[in-house]
Symmetry: D2
Subunit: 155 residues, 4 copies
């Protein structure tokens, strides 16, 4: 194995955007970059349903939705569902995130993202997040997100 290949894979910046432009991007650009285009279809206590069209910017080298972007969406959409519970005043800090990848979603595919609160206690919240193809209902990914809510006290 040519270690130079590994190095160039990790230090690449071939995106049509210069690394200077990337390095000067604003504070907290990560969330807008992930979430732009996300639409909320339904909010109820303990459940949020969103949809989005897979955008070109979130593709991986295989031209399907990047697994890292999927994990980031588990984080943010999972956190939002905690806000729907009337007992909470914070979405807390992340303790653990896990995602299983089940199918590929390609550019332009309409996907829906459903987050459900499995438990929202005083200190610990656990939510599930499922990604499906809107047309077929086929599951693309399923994850869980654990958060610690009592952040004013020490984790």
């Amino acid at each position: 194995m040519d270690f130079e290949l590994v190095k160039s894979f990790l230090e690449k910046s071939s995106s049509g955007v210069s690394s200077e432009d990337i390095d000067s991007m604003p504070f907290r650009f990560f969330e807008p970059m992930i979430m732009s285009g996300l639409k909320v279809d339904l909010i109820e206590r303990g459940r949020v349903l969103c949809s989005m069209k897979v955008p070109p910017r979130l593709l991986n080298v295989g031209n399907s939705l990047h697994g890292g972007a999927t994990a980031a969406l588990v984080d943010v959409v999972g956190s939002s569902v905690i806000m729907t519970m009337d007992s909470v005043t914070t979405t807390g800090v992340s303790v653990e995130i896990n995602v299983s990848y089940l199918d590929a979603a390609f550019v332009g595919d309409e996907i829906e993202i459903e987050a459900k609160a499995l438990r929202v206690g005083k200190a610990v919240a656990v939510v599930s997040v499922e990604f499906r193809k809107k047309k077929t209902g086929k599951i693309i990914a399923q994850g869980r997100h654990t958060k610690y809510l009592a952040v004013s006290s020490k984790l």
Copy 2:
């Protein structure tokens, strides 16, 4: 709970970059956006050590490294370590990613990311990825990444 708050949290785009600019970003912009600034410090068979300075663009609302960005780095740095094994010709497709978050890393903090191959078989590879503060060695996050390698055949 005001559901409008949840909706505005999910559909926000307040980043100093217009949603038009985000929507017109190039194919596969996600990886450069995550990885710009990543330096490879060491590559050996089954092990990759990188470092980076936490950049403003990857912060969350608490101004620490976004958990979704951490998960995305588990994906890409974890995949790179598979490339260091002489038996493989692909980094495969993701089956599962999980991350535990242990401490916050703030803007400018030097962090190191160490990926180790736990197993690279003919079909399934599992790697661990640990994030530490460079100065103190304190663990920020630890995750695992499972990939399916025999992608020419059907998953």
Copy 3:
């Protein structure tokens, strides 16, 4: 901290059964020990629903269903759902198991365990397993189980 306490916690054998009796237990006693009392309520393609009454032998020191027993049930009930898919001739080998614990189940509580196939491909299968209280529907635990199916070839 008294390290002797830790040692005695790990090397204890106070169960009313002598360690000689435990050590002479038959091959593969683990599964019957976990599964005795499990009833199958429904089997369909991609879905298995079971129920059981939490038995005294599977309790932890807090007198609720042991998390390790729950994880073992994710394994076996999760594997069984793979057998309901007509394309498979094996339940494969475990690649990953994860479980979130959401509520306690006490001795005599009727619980139901629902396993669903999220994906059963030629090589990789992923199932979800959910534990609920039968009376209230409240979720006790939720997990996922990833298996590699093509075990005749090399993992």
Copy 4:
């Protein structure tokens, strides 16, 4: 697929021990059943090293250490390492357990189990647990265990 096969797999009790004998086993028999034979080799602050010889009773149908037993050992050995930190008075309740399975361990194989505290805070503890073959150092399994410690207050 013959659903009767699935049913008999789940409701089987062929272990040389009658289901009556299993059903009359004492309270909390699960832990001694899993842990009998476990030896503590080293305890220090934040780290516990144990060893055991894979016993016949903990085998799966493939005659290797059962994945459910491995997960249960992640739970108990992972919990024990929390007891080595001087700040804690409880090992808390389980929030999440995950395990990746990397290699098979057969009856009589000497294995070592190393648990390390990744973080033990006031409320949340996360530990890693690694299983290795004693002779070769080869990793059999690696997992993480998250616990909530402030159990006197409400989870």
